[in-house]
């Protein structure tokens, strides 16, 4: 009798857990679809494709001209290859972080739907993750195009022979989770900030861009900034991606780390980013609700 009762309780708990997972998965799917529609349906697909390529290609060309104007050298050199690959993948940090934090401002003030999302049965947390998914898809397309452009138009040495798919997959996956952590942190900030706070994500992305060594070896940074750089998961992420795609390590400090050591540091940093990001988001959600900021309108 006791066993039957325990079984029944366990089944009920499992059923409830499964229903919750299914519900959250559905929220993820629907909000990702909504995000995709918002990002893409303002124009026809062809123009939209052009739109998602122009921005990243322009930012890569800026780096290319900066490189050529100084070195007048060839674009197959390791310095340029590292800079190019770092910049291409860093787009995930900037785009996902800005995109998710901007969802708060857009839904709160533009569409005025944040309050309805909030009072519905769905969790804002999962809704935001879904919206991040849409950003991820768009950034993935533009990064893939950038890599192809680099390989075939600029001669960046991205060869399949040196490519390590397994290492790439693990490093890439961990880094994306880290991006989500940073995005949740910024979304939390936006919950309590005015519309102008959209620039904060770009500013923070600028800090990561500088400190992660996406464009240059971290050895040239001042020592105190090198310390900050080594505390960031994105430093290990970008370095891991460069190793997986180009087969070479960057700079003396990071070269001292083996592939496994790098992976461990990336995993730890990613875990910390998710814990801090989710914690900050929940705290900000609580503050925003207490202060009545969930439906505020701000102007400048």
């Amino acid at each position: 009798m006791a066993v039957a009762s325990a079984m029944a309780t366990m089944t009920a708990v499992l059923t409830a857990a499964m229903a919750k997972i299914k519900g959250n998965w559905r929220v993820l799917q629907l909000s990702a679809w909504l995000g995709w529609q918002l990002e893409s349906n303002w124009t026809d697909p062809l123009l939209f494709l052009g739109y998602i390529f122009v921005k990243p290609v322009a930012s890569s060309l800026i780096l290319l001209v900066m490189y050529l104007v100084v070195t007048r050298g060839d674009t197959t050199a390791p310095a340029f290859a590292g800079m190019y690959v770092g910049n291409a993948f860093f787009a995930f940090v900037g785009q996902v972080m800005f995109g998710v934090s901007w969802v708060i401002a857009e839904d709160r003030e533009h569409f005025a739907t944040l309050k309805y999302v909030y009072i519905s049965r769905i969790r804002l947390f999962w809704y935001l993750l879904g919206r991040a998914g849409a950003k991820f898809v768009i950034t993935s397309i533009s990064t893939a195009v950038l890599l192809l452009f680099g390989r075939y138009a600029l001669g960046v040495p991205l060869h399949l022979t040196g490519f390590r798919p397994l290492y790439f997959g693990v490093v890439f996956g961990l880094g994306i989770v880290g991006c989500v952590g940073a995005s949740l942190f910024m979304a939390g900030i936006m919950l309590v900030a005015a519309r102008n706070g959209g620039g904060y994500a770009e500013g923070l992305a600028g800090l990561f861009y500088l400190a992660s060594g996406a464009l240059f070896p971290i050895d040239i940074l001042p020592r105190w900034l090198q310390g900050a750089s080594l505390a960031l998961p994105f430093t290990y992420w970008i370095e891991g991606l460069k190793r997986a795609l180009l087969g070479t390590a960057t700079g003396a400090r990071l070269s001292a780390l083996g592939d496994t050591g790098l992976l461990w540091r990336l995993a730890l940093g990613t875990a910390a980013a998710i814990i801090v990001g989710a914690g900050a988001f929940r705290l900000a959600e609580h503050v925003a609700r207490r202060r009545g900021l969930l439906d505020m309108q701000t102007q400048s």
Partner: protein, 292 residues
């Protein structure tokens, strides 16, 4: 008070003359302009965190590009280009997001219809936004210049302060004129406006030569993109801060002439475009159309 007389505007005569009507209209529009600029200037001062983030966060992106040049062993002048470019970026961002797409945002929040219901000219609102935006952004731009120069040991050599001031002010006049022209253009549009602004960001950084002398793109490209105030203005300012270094693609005097021309063209375009777009938007019922 006699009917038809508005004592606030100093009119005591029963019938106002053409001149007093003109003065009254001018006063009204100047007041509207001041009011719109006031929101921008005071808004920042009331929220000190905006001031902090607006000033310090963009410095990181600027520093990243300085280190790119350092990693390539570039001459010190290149760090100066990046700092100058970082300062001018602030104006371009302000023009794109707080000028060009502002009417779109105003439409979405319901302010645009109020602007059109009031007796002022929408041009006064645009001028007010420009003045307010210019003041608001100058704080970020000048701080980037001062802190950036100090942090990276960059020295500029100003031999002709008058020409430098003229080049800068004319660049701003042409740039904000372009912003006003774009704002009138965006009046018709919905979400496209946001995306167009987003699209124009990096490509303009590239063709304006914000991080390198525009000459590096070749004379043909440089001349082709000379309709952009930022391209011409940046080149003029760069030449005046590094005299004799040979970084320019045109003489400064020619560039100042181009900027005068561009200011006139864009301000005229803004006025004509605003009237035209307003008519079209009213005809198609788009002035109050939201969430499209």
């Amino acid at each position: 008070m006699i009917a038809g007389t508005d004592t606030r505007k100093g009119g005591n005569a029963p019938h106002r003359t053409g001149n007093s009507r003109l003065l009254g209209s001018l006063e009204l529009n100047l007041r509207a302009m001041r009011a719109r600029a006031y929101v921008r200037v005071v808004g920042v001062n009331r929220e000190l965190s905006w001031l902090f983030f607006d000033i310090f966060l963009p410095l990181f992106g600027v520093a990243a590009y300085v280190y790119v040049y350092r990693s390539l062993d570039a001459p010190p002048a290149y760090a100066g280009f990046v700092i100058l470019g970082g300062a001018m970026t602030a104006y371009w961002l302000n023009v794109l997001w707080a000028m060009a797409s502002q009417f779109y945002w105003d439409k979405e929040t319901g302010n645009l219809e109020v602007f059109y219901l009031s007796p002022m000219s929408p041009m006064a609102v645009l001028f007010g936004m420009s003045v307010g935006g210019l003041i608001q952004t100058s704080l970020r731009a000048f701080t980037t210049m001062i802190l950036g120069s100090w942090l990276f040991g960059v020295h500029f050599q100003v031999e002709s302060p008058g020409a430098l001031a003229a080049a800068f002010l004319l660049t701003m006049a042409a740039l904000y004129g372009l912003g006003m022209a774009l704002a009138s253009f965006y009046l018709m549009y919905g979400r496209e406006a946001w995306h167009i602004s987003n699209l124009l960001q990096e490509p303009v950084y590239l063709v304006a030569g914000l991080q390198f002398p525009i000459k590096a793109l070749g004379m043909t490209v440089a001349l082709t993109v000379s309709f952009l105030p930022l391209t011409v203005g940046m080149d003029a300012v760069r030449q005046l801060l590094y005299p004799g270094a040979g970084f320019g693609y045109l003489p400064v005097a020619v560039e100042i002439g181009i900027l005068v021309l561009l200011s006139g063209i864009f301000l005229t375009l803004a006025q004509v475009g605003l009237r035209w777009m307003e008519r079209a938007a009213k005809r198609e019922g788009r002035l109050t159309l939201r969430w499209q």
